[in-house]
């Protein structure tokens, strides 16, 4: 360079300098144009271009978190989730071949899921490019159907991924497990109560993709991990549950009751091992869901318990030291309280019964006579202690507190009728908890339906321990147990509840039914029940059976006690509770 410059002439140098300037000018112009354009793109249109580039080169997919399972106490699934698909179509592509496509879909999906003519209408929707054909189809069925459509040379049917809830047991424990709505949100039972736990957190993945949709290898990708839902392990024993479901459904049918329930609780831990209800529902058949079969009777339905409550009255009396099983009572044939006549279910003159005899024969009048020893306030406070008028602590949605009027508002008639279970409204779980306390030596344990939570890594955590408290002395509880053993004796009201080899304590109940509209009792309509626990000398389970509005002369001992017998026997057998071998003490019923 140095040599060329040095040897060139003055003219040549000027030409070179001019060329240089021109080139420089051109370069500046070019760079200026670039600069302006750059400013245009980066400064003014930046957002629009950024989003365009993102759209063109990226693909984001949601990774749905699988909903946790609901398991029984042995880890068997009561509710689980599977992949499902929604079938969609582009009517502009399908309208000409609609009948052929509909025929193929019908063949693969079945009549339960789609209606042939309805699908044809959807496939021919005018001026539309998107229609939903059918939602919530199991992935394997949907994939087969779409493949068949493609194989027939037809286009325009697509799929969208989703998840679907299945209930492998069908109606098994349906009212406890609950169900989910179309969007996968729990609406009843455990599905609702533990929805936030079961749900998990959806994740997402963003990839750079080629124009044909292929993921570009080694390009940027961001993945937000999904957190799967937590499994909820219930305290239910699936096989016992099934057996009780069947046995109860059978009893509801044969007694033509409106509804029935049967629930069994471990008295020491408060764990509910079985919770049956009839009529019930199958959550996979959405069209059959009605209020009367999806309501949770154990916690949401209130009714008057009837004579079953006499056990609580006697426990209060025994705890106050006012009564023993042998206490002698003079029972009149009829009493008038506040111009209100009260009698027993059988006609009698003045009779001499012991306290055990009052329970064994289920005498309303005998209970009234005994309960006169308690003031309104004392009786009310015992009912409160036994958990009436307060939630059972079971952790299920929509639980009712029942109706227990304050002692100050009690009339003489209220005091009398409440002592034998009329004029007070309860839920089944309240009764189970109260009688469970008598079985558990006077210590009340709140019922629970969930044993453990199991997260995706298999880590187990326990829910908060249920609360326990002493409501009556162990001595009082033992006395009431002895009275209740007389109920299942051959001369008691429920010999059908006897389980050979075991000592069984129980109590029947026949309550007048209240018409919820008028608030008055309906003559001839009853709620019959039986509650009992076994083995009476070392109680393990308490089982409560309720049948609402059975045929007119059905009684707790004849209709509910046989169900109790079968369910309790099965519970004792499944949990390996052997009889203790001791004999029931003979308690005189009359004097």
């Amino acid at each position: 360079m140095t040599s060329r410059l040095s040897t060139g002439t003055g003219h040549g140098h000027r030409v070179a300098a001019r060329r240089l300037r021109v080139c420089l000018g051109l370069a500046i112009v070019v760079f200026l144009v670039f600069g302006v354009r750059l400013f245009w793109i980066q400064g003014l249109d930046a957002q629009a271009y950024a989003s365009m580039s993102k759209q063109a080169g990226q693909s984001t997919t949601t990774i749905p978190a699988p909903r946790g399972e609901i398991l029984d106490r042995n880890g068997k699934a009561l509710a689980s989730s599977v992949d499902a698909m929604t079938l969609t179509a582009d009517p502009s592509m399908t309208s000409t071949d609609a009948p052929r496509i509909a025929r193929i879909l019908l063949k693969h999906l079945g009549k339960d899921r789609i209606d042939y003519f309805d699908v044809i209408d959807k496939l021919r929707t005018p001026k539309s490019r998107f229609v939903y054909l059918v939602k919530q189809v199991p992935a394997w069925t949907a994939t087969k159907a779409v493949k068949a459509v493609r194989k027939a040379g037809l286009t325009g049917v697509f799929t969208q991924q989703e998840t679907m809830r299945t209930y492998p047991g069908g109606k098994l424990a349906a009212n406890l497990v609950g169900y989910v709505d179309g969007s996968g949100k729990g609406v009843q039972g455990i599905e609702r109560q533990y929805d936030s736990l079961l749900r998990g957190t959806d994740g997402s993945a963003t990839y750079e993709v080629s124009p044909t949709g292929q993921r570009i290898p080694m390009a940027d990708s961001t993945v937000k991990e999904m957190v799967p839902g937590t499994d909820v392990e219930t305290t239910i024993d699936r096989d016992l549950q099934w057996y009780a479901d069947q046995r109860l459904a059978d009893a509801v049918r044969s007694s033509s009751s409106d509804w029935g329930l049967a629930v069994t609780m471990d008295v020491r831990t408060g764990q509910i091992v079985q919770m049956s209800q009839a009529p019930t529902f199958d959550a996979e058949e959405k069209s059959t869901l009605r209020d009367y079969n999806t309501v949770s009777r154990f916690a949401q339905t209130v009714y008057e318990p009837g004579s079953v409550l006499k056990t609580v009255t006697m426990a209060a009396l025994a705890d106050q030291g006012k009564i023993t099983p042998e206490t002698r009572l003079v029972v009149p044939g009829r009493v008038m309280i506040d111009k209100f006549p009260i009698g027993d279910y059988w006609q009698h003159g003045t009779i001499h019964l012991t306290a055990a005899g009052v329970i064994a024969k289920s005498s309303n009048l005998g209970t009234i006579v005994a309960a006169q020893q308690l003031s309104d306030g004392t009786m009310h406070s015992y009912l409160r202690k036994f958990g009436f008028g307060s939630l059972s602590g079971v952790q299920l949605p929509g639980e009712s507190r029942g109706i227990l009027t304050p002692a100050k508002q009690w009339t003489k008639a209220n005091h009398a009728t409440i002592s034998f279970g009329q004029g007070i409204s309860v839920t089944a779980l309240q009764v189970v908890r109260a009688v469970g306390a008598i079985a558990n030596n006077g210590v009340m344990v709140d019922p629970s339906v969930v044993d453990e939570y199991v997260d995706a890594d298999g880590k187990r955590t326990s829910p908060e321990a249920t609360s326990t408290r002493r409501v009556v002395s162990a001595k009082a509880a033992k006395m009431v147990t002895r009275m209740m053993e007389a109920v299942t004796a051959d001369d008691g009201t429920a010999p059908a509840a006897q389980i050979p080899g075991y000592r069984v304590a129980g109590k029947t109940g026949t309550a007048w039914r209240v018409n919820p509209v008028t608030g008055r009792y309906v003559r001839g309509q009853n709620t019959v029940s039986f509650i009992g626990f076994a083995p009476a000398d070392k109680p393990r389970f308490v089982t409560y059976v309720v049948l609402d509005k059975p045929f007119a002369n059905a009684g707790g001992g004849s209709t509910a006690a046989p169900v109790f017998h079968d369910v309790m026997s099965m519970a004792l057998e499944r949990f390996g509770v052997a009889p203790t071998g001791s004999r029931s003490p003979k308690v005189p019923q009359q004097w």
């Binding site: 199991p138 992935a139 047991g169 290898p217 050979p500 052997a578």
Partner: protein, 139 residues
Amino acid sequence: MSQHQVVGRARPPRQEPLSLPLRLVAPVRSRARRAPFVVVVLTVLTCGLVGLIVMSTVLQAQSFEISQLQQDTAQLQTQQQQLDREVERLQAPAHVARQALLLGMVPNANPAFLRLADGAVVGKPAPAEPRSNVRRVDP
């Protein structure tokens, strides 16, 4: 040091006249031959390029393979779910019980135990009579 002086002279200050007695320096003769260098450079370039092409092709092919395998996985997962569901359905108490009832079996509602320690029977065993408790199986 002498080289520095030569370079210093080659860039004279502007005030001095251009006609200094300069003479061409004989071109430096490199003893290295050019051919091997070119061959090496070309080889490196070719290898690089070919390697790049091969690698990108392999990656592309693998990306296709991945999406194919992912599709297969999804399909197999779906199939597994279907089979799992079928197993769950068959294991459900209702199904097992229905099969058992069809075989003439009866649920036992008489708890009795055999104590292994002394072979004693605890409880009062009784035969389970047909139609004594569960009479039919609801789906």
